[in-house]
């Protein structure tokens, strides 16, 4: 047997294609993309700004804020804060907005969800807080 996508033989490839062309799927795609594309652009620009300031704005970066703590250090720490914040916001957005749409469409493709899969998914969800 081929190692390629054997599951498609069980379900039938046209069910994926059919579902991928429904308005519900368009909604899922745009819900995902309208978060991940702008946010990716934003954090890459924010990071680029940090690298460029480190390269070209030495005087600004070396301005002291409190004691020996300067703008460069604070800017660097803000990169940590923004990374943690984006990770948290995305996890929350995905859980509330993306997962319900994806789960519905998945059930549609695979037919009625098997009891076993649903139970397994539920336990996995509880595993991590």
């Amino acid at each position: 047997m081929s190692t390629e996508t054997p599951a498609s033989e069980e379900i039938g490839e046209n069910r994926y294609v059919a579902v991928a062309r429904t308005p519900e799927f368009d909604a899922l795609r745009s819900t995902l993309r309208k978060f991940v594309f702008p946010v990716s652009a934003a954090f890459l620009i924010w990071y680029a700004l940090y690298v460029l300031l480190s390269a070209y704005a030495r005087d600004f970066m070396s301005t002291k804020v409190v004691g020996h703590i300067n703008v460069a250090l604070i800017f660097g720490l803000l990169q940590f804060v923004s990374t943690f914040l984006i990770a948290w916001l995305y996890a929350r957005y995905a859980e509330r907005r993306i997962d319900p749409l994806a789960d519905d469409l998945r059930a549609k493709i695979e037919g009625a969800p098997a009891a076993g899969t649903a139970a397994a998914a539920a336990t996995e969800g509880e595993g991590d807080a």
């Binding site: 081929s2 190692t3 390629e4 996508t5 599951a7 379900i11 490839e13 994926y16 294609v17 579902v19 991928a20 799927f25 899922l28 795609r29 995902l32 978060f35 991940v36 946010v39 990716s40 954090f43 990071y47 680029a48 940090y50 690298v51 460029l52 480190s54 390269a55 030495r58 970066m61 070396s62 409190v66 004691g67 020996h68 703590i69 300067n70 460069a72 250090l73 660097g76 990169q79 940590f80 990374t83 943690f84 984006i86 990770a87 995305y90 996890a91 995905a94 859980e95 997962d99 994806a102 789960d103 469409l105 998945r106 493709i109 397994a120 998914a121 996995e124 969800g125 595993g127 991590d128």
Partner: protein, 589 residues
């Protein structure tokens, strides 16, 4: 001599006994875990993906264990200890990069692939060319990264056991100890992978991540407590003892990357471009590292993949914050002179800090030896976990992509494929041991940055276009991968890493006596810019950039796009299927 000699002669024996004991315990525990894991290692999914049974938290720990290499633990602490703020630039790139993986890659990849990176690339393309390209790129990235870890480990263990040039230990000179260490690490990683598969490797990485976090936390708390939790006074003392003039330059960017050369506009420009080039490769490389990508297959579904990345971001972020305290702490408490005396690159700054803190707070010399031995064991665990992950990634790709899907055209059973994967791990491990021993005295630290640059230039464009661009096709994927790969390696072969001569953009370096001898020039010579260049110290590099990302990353994206546009191959149905699978998780393995 500085007043804090790293290993006072009287404590050398205690030190070595403690360090070796901990090494032996660590090796015993990890081998025990591997053998235990091997009992549940039956199917291909067990071998390649740990049975997809890990939780998000477990995989988050394992990702941390796979990602935080000796280069980031010892290397970044060392860069901060010697060059101050600039080490922080590295940590930030390494961390922010995880958002690319989280937002654009992890979940879609988990849903649409099976065991390797090339699974996703080849989903809607012609199997043979795309898998061949993906596999070559996977193996090259992993071998470069592996080589850097192994050579680093050889030097490090010799240092941690306190074997200096001309000294012997158990009948071994420093040189022999390096060779023995490289061979031993190679054998261990082969055992972890062939016996334990992904499950064994994952547990080794989890144990390592736990040890690393605890070790770093203890040192961080001791450093902060020493300065009464006043960050400003820690920074102030680190700067004061940095030997920099003005001392505050130590706390600002520019001592190592993006340097300013008074009166030399070209050299300044090139140094700044190099900084931008490095930053680009760091932030875009992570989501294209094959040994990281295959970790997403070890969890049952995309939600768990997302959770594992969120956990990994938390762990890795906290860890890099702690390296700030370790680096600045080492600068302040150990001092530049003592660090450089031990290792010019600063790789032993964190272990030296441990010894110093142990001496002060855990009861004198024995406490110092104990804490040093513990941190040495943590470093050793770090190396083992990372090399195991790399060996697994490359042997999986060799077996699953090249053997099963290119050579056998998919006509093979899973049992046979896993047998091939185990043999591959042997071959990769043996190659890495030989290369590591041959290269043991070369300066291979650049290989980590090169691996990131190849991952960003060759792998990331193909991955992103495969997942998000309907028009993408076989030619796009292969052109992108080969263009990114060849240009990244090509730039390095034409760069100051290979050719160390002086040019408009490269200023003369101050040479040590042995460097001058190796280069065949007088110590006062002004012809040499990089004395550790691979090919020649005196020939100027045609390309002055050390980091290829600025050139190779755009080339990877451009060639992927041009390849796709010039080929007539299109399969909108297959793209719809990929979209449906990757976003909903339907039919996922």
């Amino acid at each position: 001599m500085p007043d804090q000699v790293y290993l006072a002669a009287t404590s050398v024996t205690t030190q070595r006994t403690l360090t070796l004991t901990l090494f032996v315990i660590l090796v015993g525990v990890t081998l025990g875990i591997t053998i235990w894991a091997s009992r549940q290692n039956r199917t291909a999914a067990d071998f390649y993906a740990g049975g997809r049974s890990f939780s998000g938290f477990q995989n988050g720990m394992a990702i941390g264990g796979d990602y935080m290499s000796a280069a980031s633990f010892l290397g970044i602490a060392g860069i901060i200890a010697l060059n101050g703020y600039d080490g922080f630039l590295y940590s930030i790139g390494f961390l922010v990069a995880w958002l690319v993986a989280l937002l654009l890659v992890a979940e879609l990849m988990r849903n649409s692939g099976r065991y390797t990176m090339a699974d996703v690339l080849a989903f809607r393309m012609r199997q043979a060319p795309v898998r061949t390209a993906g596999s070559i790129s996977t193996i090259i990235v992993s071998i470069f990264y592996l080589l850097a870890q192994m050579v680093g480990a050889g030097a490090l263990v010799a240092l941690l056991l306190g074997i200096k040039a001309g000294d012997t230990f158990m009948g071994m000179s420093a040189e022999t100890a390096k060779i023995v260490t490289i061979a031993l690490i190679g054998v261990l990683m082969i055992v972890y992978v062939t016996v334990g598969g992904m499950k064994g490797t994952t547990y080794v990485q989890i144990v390592k991540a736990f040890m690393l976090m605890i070790g770093a936390l203890v040192l961080t708390l001791l450093v902060l407590a020493h300065y009464k939790f006043n960050l400003s006074s820690l920074l102030g003392e680190a700067a004061a003892k940095s030997g920099r003039n003005p001392t505050d330059a130590f706390l600002e960017p520019g001592l190592r990357y993006g340097r300013e050369f008074a009166g030399n506009a070209t050299a300044t420009l090139v140094s700044k471009l190099d900084l931008i080039s490095l930053g680009l490769a760091l932030v875009l490389g992570t989501a294209g590292l094959p040994h990281i990508l295959i970790r997403f297959y070890t969890v049952p579904n995309a939600k768990a993949a997302r959770k594992s990345v969120v956990w990994a971001i938390g762990l890795i972020g906290v860890f890099y914050l702690m390296t700030l305290a370790l680096g600045f702490g080492a600068a302040a408490l150990v001092g530049r002179q003592a660090i450089v005396a031990q290792d010019a690159a600063g790789n032993t700054a964190a272990p030296q800090l441990a010894q110093e803190l142990g001496k002060r707070y855990l009861g004198g010399d024995f406490g110092g030896s104990l804490l040093l031995a513990i941190i040495a064991a943590v470093a050793f665990a770090t190396i083992l976990a990372v090399v195991a992950g790399l060996t697994l990634a490359s042997s999986s790709s060799l077996a699953h992509d090249l053997y099963a899907n290119v050579i056998k055209r998919g006509q093979t059973d899973e049992r046979q494929e896993v047998v091939v994967a185990r043999y591959s791990a042997f071959v990769i491990g043996a190659v890495a041991i030989v290369l590591g021993i041959v290269a043991r005295n070369l300066n291979v630290a650049f290989l980590v940055a090169l691996a990131f640059a190849i991952a960003a230039s060759a792998n990331l464009p193909a991955i992103l276009f495969s997942l998000f661009w309907k028009r993408f096709n076989t030619r796009g994927a292969t052109w992108g991968i080969y263009a990114g790969l060849i240009s990244a390696v090509g730039v390095v072969l034409l760069s100051p890493i290979s050719w160390g001569g002086v040019s408009d953009a490269r200023t003369p370096a101050t040479l040590t006596a042995s460097q001058a001898k190796d280069c065949g020039v007088a110590q006062t010579s002004k012809e040499v810019s990089n004395a550790t260049a691979l090919f020649s110290c005196t020939t100027a590099a045609p390309i002055p950039l050390e980091n290829p990302g600025l050139i190779s990353i755009p080339l990877g994206f451009i060639f992927a796009a041009i390849g796709a546009m010039t080929s007539k191959e299109r399969d909108p149905d297959k793209y719809s299927e990929l979209e449906a699978r990757s976003m909903t998780g339907a039919g996922a393995h």
